[in-house]
Every structure is written in C-alpha cells, then in structure tokens.
C-alpha cells in the first residue's frame, strides 16, 4: 500500500481545526455577539425612545431580521466549511467580493475596537488608587488652585479628555503619540494575541472566562445597584413606556440597526466559527440560542446601568439642592441644617416672600431631577464619564471601578476574537500562509500589523478618528454586505439546495417561517433600513463634537464640521469595503468564471471514476 497517500488523507482531515465541545462553540458565538454595545448602546436607546415601548420594534427586528440572518450565516458556514471568502466563492465566483468585503471590514473594525479596550485598560490600571484619580481636580503648577480646565468642566471630564486622551481641539491637529496610550494599546494587543495565538484552539479555552465573567459582574452590579438610593427612580424612568414614540420612523430604524450590529452579522466571524463545526449539528437551535441570549443580555444589562444612572441623577440633584441650601443659609444667617432637602421648598417660598431681591441676587441653581435623569449618554461617554462619576459616589469605589472595567474588557475581548477570526480564517483557507510559517507566527504578525495601524488612534486627535471609523465603517458597509449575503444564498445558491443542506445537517427542512423571511421579509427590511439610514445621514452635514477649552461655551462640546479631506476619507471608508463586491464580480465576469468549478461536498455515488469506459474498444 502506498504510504504517501495515507499521510495526505490524514493531513486533510487534520488540517481543519474543530471545537473541543459544543459549549465552546456556543460561548464563542455568544461572546462575539454580546459586546460593548449591549451595555452602552441598548440602554441609551431604550431611554431615548420611550422606555418599555422600544422593546416592541426591537423584538420585531430581532425576529424578522436578526434571527433569519444569523441562522443563514451559521448554516452556510457549517455546510460549506470555509471562511467568508471561500464560502462566497463556492456559492458563486461572482460573489467572491462579499467575502473580501467582510474580511476588510473585520480588519478595520478590529483596529478601532481594540483601541477602546486599550482605554478600558487605562482606566482599569488607574482604579487601584485611593482616591480615584477622576474624583478630584489636580492642583496647578504654582499650587494656588485647581487646574482651570478641570474647574470649568468636571474632574471626570478632565480625566477623560485631558489625562487619558490628551485630546486636541480639532481633528486637523494631530498632536503627538501619547506614550501612555501606546503602552496600553500594546498590552491590549498582547492580551488579544495570547488568546488568539492558535486560532480557535486557544480562543475556545479563553471564552470560558471572557464570555461568562460579564454575567457574573452584571449580577453583582444588579444586586448592589438596586440597594442604592434613587435606583428605583432610574428604573421607573427607563421602563416607563411612551407609546407615542412608536409613530416616529427613527425608532424603527434605530431598532433595526441596533439588532443588526448587536448580533455582529456580516463580519464573517460567525461564518468562520461555524465552519469548524462537525457537519451534523443543529444550527437552527444554535441561531435561536445565540440570538435570544444576546437580546436577553441587553435587557439584563440595562437594569443595573439604569439603576446606577438613577442613583447618579439623585446624588447630583441632592448636591445641587445642598449648594442652594448653603447659599441661603449663609446669606440669611439661618441656623445650620435648619433648611433640609425636605423643607427646602417651604423655606424658599418663605424667604422669597420676605426678601425677594436678596434671594434673586444669590443666583440659585435650577435643580430638577428630571433634567439630571435626561443627561444620558451612550458609547464611551457612558462608560468613561457618566459611569465613573457614579462610581465615585458609591462606597468602596475602587472595587466597583475594577469590576466594571474588567467586565468591559472581557465583553470587548470576546468580540475581538470574532473580528480577528473573520480575518484569519479566510486567509488560512486561501492558503496565503507560507508553509514554513507556523500558525503562532502568523497570528502574531496579524496582531503586530493591527497594532501599528491602530497607533493613529493614540494621537491627540485619535478619538475623533475613532468616531469616524465607528460611524462610517461599522454601519452602511455591513448592511450592504448582509444584503448581498442573503441575495447570494437565495438567488445564486438556491433555496432548494440550501434547504437540502440544512436537512442534511439538522435532520429537518427549514420551516415556512424561515423560508418566507429569507426570500421576502429580511431582504426587504434590509433595503428599507439601508436606504433610510443613508437618507438620514445625508440630510445633516456631518459634524463632530470637539473638546475645545478655548470655546466660549466650554465645557459644552463644540460642533465642528468635517473638512473636505476628512469627509473624503469618511466616504472612502464606507465605500471601499463595499466596492470589492462589484470589482470582483466584474473581474470574474471578464475571466468567464461564472460557475463554481469545485463542488466540495457532492461526490456522485453513481460515478466514482474508477472505471472509465474505454473508448478505443473495437466492437466486435
């Protein structure tokens, strides 16, 4: 027996890694889907769009758009057993660009996402000090008072904008590389590398911690937050439904985009993860599990977030009242603590009646609990400004700060795995890795390249560039790619063939609900969402909020318009990933490769090509 062929066959089956068990696979997908957006975007949307009423468009979008697309991606990854580029190439060579676009997108998103993790690490390192560095203003150089920038704004804002980002007033001013951010970025990429070093072999072990730890911390925060004063006010404010708001089409648009980005669709990472599955695996159940857990996590996270924000609003309100009380007490020489927060209103009317001019001259602040509650934020503003301010007021601030930032880091880390797998798996499948290069070196190379490119976000203007990447890369291109994905499967691959594959994998054909969604509802919804999103974006001239101490209304952020070359970069970022789809399609059309040459998984049982009919036989 020829020994060489047996070693080749064993190499083929050895080559594709696989998950150690189902739990690893599910945890990795859940970790990828559950990310920072579940914690800092969903609660904000819930609050802004009428509390409990927002759940209706959100759940509708989940059922009709999120779950079908999720099921589709997991199923094609599992049946075609390749990364995004290989999968789309097998479906149709004209669609190879979809895979390339996914890979470029995963790469670009991975760049800025890990920078956010670098910031989280910076705050984590600083949470071990007493007092927390963002709780007080630092003293200026000649020790006469506090730093002016800090006095005008708040210590929390100062720590974020000056001490962490050292932000420039304008995106055109680059500033220099901030060395502290560079080393935090290096540590973030090192931690990512150590988990990613052998692909899913190490990722599968890491997710046992990174995917489950956030839930533990959220539970701890939930218990703590519900015992804080003002927590119930925050929760009531969050969940009180405002049904009127459902008439506003922006609510539906934001719900659809939120569910889409929250599930991390169209990155290619989910396709990569499911390609390492065994052939016979119930991907329908996996999709339902991942989708539902993702939404449930969003809801679960919003409860402690809003309890804590309610607590913060209440303490701000009390501070405001107390400063007014102090002013009144000092001006009218009333005995200490005679005016309290309870009888403040009564005293105020009494004093106003007796001496209105004096009261007026005090310039008392307007203390309105509702306006403090309205000071919501999403994104980095929520984590690094609002939440850190709340943590200062909680007893034992260091513990809560450390827990919070570790939670954010593990949420982001598990999402980074998906982004990087969306880059690594297609490259491995295309055999772009030289034979002599071990996998560890290749993943290290990817991490180093990403680190070097992400250094632009550590400059003084880095935060502005990150916002650009966040808004322009992580939005429209994803919607376009998802649309091409669903069209590719329904039109090019064929619903029948797809249903056959699913029957082979799960044991049953997809029921009428899935077929109706894939063929009708989901593509229509995607197109509507895409068009509406573009229309809304185009209407307003893009501006960005700049932190400018020289601004007359400082500390309010100054809205500056993007200059032309910056706007050109924004447009490029949106269009270049998407352009690869038509470019590859045209290229393939030119070369005449319209049909897929290889059929990877359909051995014909009637012709095993062992016996080829001899055409030279002379008929006798």
């Amino acid at each position: 027996m020829d020994t060489t062929s047996s070693t080749d066959a064993s190499k083929d089956t050895e080559e594709r890694p696989k998950w150690d068990n189902k739990v690893q696979y599910l945890l990795t997908c859940i970790g990828f889907a559950v990310g920072l957006g579940n914690v800092w975007r969903f609660p904000y949307l819930c609050q802004v769009y009428g509390g409990g009423a927002f759940l209706i468009p959100y759940l509708i979008a989940l059922v009709f758009e999120g779950l079908p697309l999720l099921y589709l991606e997991l199923a094609i990854g599992q049946s075609l057993r390749m990364g995004s580029i290989g999968v789309w190439h097998s479906i149709s060579p004209l669609l190879g660009g979809v895979g390339v676009a996914s890979m470029i997108l995963s790469f670009l998103v991975g760049l800025f996402y890990n920078t956010i993790l670098a910031w989280v690490l910076w705050y984590f390192f600083h949470s071990f000090q007493d007092p927390l560095p963002w709780s007080q203003c630092p003293i200026n150089d000649n020790l006469t008072g506090y730093v002016e920038e800090c006095v005008l704004s708040t210590p929390v804002n100062y720590f974020w904008y000056r001490k962490t980002l050292n932000i420039t007033p304008d995106i055109e001013e680059n500033g220099s590389l901030q060395w502290w951010l560079v080393i935090c970025l290096a540590s973030a990429w090192s931690i990512v590398y150590i988990c990613f070093i052998r692909g899913i072999e190490t990722i599968g072990k890491a997710v046992y911690v990174t995917a489950t730890f956030p839930y533990l911390v959220l539970t701890i925060f939930l218990v703590r937050a519900l015992t804080l004063p003002g927590a119930t006010d925050g929760l009531i404010y969050l969940f009180t439904p405002d049904w009127e708001i459902l008439m506003d089409p922006r609510v539906w648009l934001d719900a659809a985009t939120q569910i889409f980005f929250s599930l991390s669709l169209a990155f290619g990472g989910l396709i990569a993860f499911s390609s390492y599955n065994p052939k016979k695996n119930d991907c329908e159940r996996d999709a339902l599990v991942v989708g539902c857990i993702n939404s449930a996590t969003s809801l679960y996270a919003s409860i402690p977030i809003f309890a804590i924000l309610g607590f913060k609003a209440t303490s701000n309100y009390n501070n405001c009242l107390n400063s007014n009380i102090l002013d009144l007490t000092n001006a009218f020489d009333i005995a200490d603590k005679n005016i309290t927060t309870e009888n403040y209103e009564g005293w105020l009317t009494f004093l106003n009646a007796s001496d209105p001019d004096k009261v007026f001259s005090l310039n008392l602040k307007e203390c309105d609990l509702k306006s403090f509650m309205d000071q919501s934020a999403s994104g980095t503003g929520l984590a690094f400004i609002v939440f850190t301010e709340a943590v200062i007021e909680m007893p034992g601030s260091q513990v809560w700060a450390v827990l919070f930032f570790i939670m954010l880091f593990s949420l982001g880390l598990s999402s980074m795995f998906g982004n990087l797998e969306g880059v690594l798996t297609p490259l491995l499948d295309l055999h772009m890795v030289p034979k002599w290069m071990p996998k560890e070196l290749f993943t290290g190379l990817i991490c180093v390249v990403c680190f070097l490119m992400a250094l632009i976000f550590t400059m003084g203007s880095g935060n502005y560039w990150l916002e650009i990447f966040n808004s322009y890369v992580g939005s429209v291109p994803l919607l376009v790619i998802a649309f091409f994905e669903i069209i590719g499967v329904v039109v090019f691959y064929g619903m029948n063939r797809f249903s056959n594959d699913i029957e082979f994998m799960t044991g049953r054909r997809p029921n009428i609900f899935w077929r109706v969604c894939w063929m009708g509802i989901s593509p229509v919804m995607l197109v509507v969402v895409l068009v509406a999103y573009v229309v809304v974006q185009v209407q307003k001239h893009p501006t960005y909020p700049a932190w400018n101490p020289a601004y007359e209304n400082f500390p309010t952020l100054e809205e500056k318009p993007y200059s032309d070359w910056v706007f050109a970069i924004c447009v490029l970022l949106s269009s270049v990933p998407v352009l690869s789809v038509p470019i590859v399609a045209i290229y393939r059309l030119f070369k005449g490769q319209t049909r897929s040459q290889s059929k990877p998984n359909s051995p014909n049982p009637y012709n095993n090509q062992a016996f080829t009919p001899d055409s030279h036989t002379i008929e006798s």
């Binding site: 690490l121 910076w122 931690i191 020489d333 200490d336």
Partner: protein
C-alpha cells in the same frame, strides 16, 4: 457724680463695639456644627466662644511673636444663630487701634489646622470668609501606581505567551521525533516484508553468525 461715672464705665465696651462694627478690618466667621459633626455636634455657647477667642489669640501671638497680646484683644460682634460672627483684633499696645485685616488673615492661615482641630472641624465647616481653604498637597508617587499594575499584567501576559510558544516548540519537536520513529518503523517493516522472513532476520544479525567451524588458524597444520 454717679451719672458721670457710669458712662465712663461703659465707655470701653461701647467703644469696642464700635471698633468691631466698623467692619473694615473685621473678619467674618461661619461655623457649621451640625454639618461637620452630625450627631456629635456640641452646642455653641459662651464657653465655645471663649475657646475661639483664645485660639485666635494663640494664632496672633504665634504669628506676631508678641507675648503681650491677650484674649481681651479679640473683639466679637454680630453673632447670629447660623452660627456666624465678625471679629477684630486690637493692638495690645493701643486698644483703640485694630491690627490690619491682611495680618490677621496671615496669622489665621498659619495656624488654621490648630484652630480647626480645637473645634473638631475642617476648612469647610469652620469658614473664615476671605481665607480660601488650604488645598491638600498632591501626593507624589515615586512610581505612579498605574504603572505597577501595568507591569504586573504585562509580566503575566509575557510569561503566558512564552509558555505557549515553548509548548508549541516542544510539541513540534515531539511530533518530529515521532514522525522520524514511525518513518524508521515503516522502513523496518517494509524491509521485513521484502525478505521472506527467516528466523534470523528479527535477530538483526544481518551479517550471520560466525560458527567457527572453519578456523583461519593454520597453526596446527604443518608449515611448509
């Protein structure tokens, strides 16, 4: 006679009240006992005022170095329920002359901590209007604590990466050694298959056994 003496007796106190109420060199003080001490707040009475006057006299003595300054040089007026009042300091040599405000403020600033401690209060709760609270000196670290945490984390990560890379290298070496073994085994097996399997082959004595039947020792033969 009495009517003439009585005003003379009351004149100093009237004069002192005028000195205090003139207000130009007076310092206002605000004390917030309930805010500062909560449940343990003591009541503000004459004895507490006496303590205040004596601590102020102490501060003035310490600053000016003038031992003649006495508690009678501290004049207080405009007491309110707040508790707040105005005080002035008269010169020990001439009781109708006031010590300038700036000097009083400097004296208070120097001994602020002692005065606060006498009343168990802080800069916020024992307020001298016009004297800003002293700022706490910033703590100077030799190594900022965040660098220490960073060092610990990076050290752990570096060790982890090295461990993983070492395990890859040893795995590779072990796999290579196994591959060489199995290749050798494969060759040996093939070699055995090619032979027809005599019993001697597995003894690996390919050279045969020297059976010493034929000896090359020709000593017993006669030599020619």
């Amino acid at each position: 006679m009495l009517t003439r003496i009585l005003p003379l007796i009351f004149l100093p106190s009237v004069l002192t009240q005028d000195l205090c109420k003139d207000g130009k060199d007076g310092n206002k003080v605000r004390i917030s006992l309930k805010t500062g001490l909560g449940e343990e707040a003591y009541e503000w009475n004459e004895s507490e005022m006496f303590l205040f006057k004596s601590s102020l006299a102490f501060a003035m003595r310490k600053h000016t170095g003038n031992d003649k300054l006495d508690i009678s040089n501290i004049l207080v007026c405009n007491e309110t329920r707040r508790v707040s009042f105005i005080f002035v300091v008269t010169s020990p040599t001439n009781t109708s002359q006031l010590i300038p405000k700036a000097e009083v403020q400097a004296a208070v600033r120097n001994s602020k901590h002692r005065i606060n401690s006498a009343f168990l209060l802080s800069d916020m709760t024992l307020e001298f209007v016009g004297i800003p609270p002293t700022l706490a000196t910033p703590i100077k670290y030799d190594t900022p604590p965040w660098l220490i945490v960073f060092g610990v984390v990076m050290g752990a990560v570096a060790v982890g990466i090295l461990a993983l890379l070492m395990s890859t290298v040893t795995k590779g070496r072990r796999a290579k050694a196994k591959a060489v073994d199995s290749a050798e085994e494969g060759e040996g097996r093939e070699g055995r298959v090619k032979e027809n399997g005599t019993s001697l082959t597995h003894l690996e004595l390919k050279d045969g056994v020297y059976n010493e039947a034929f000896s090359s020792d020709d000593e017993r033969l006669t030599q020619l």
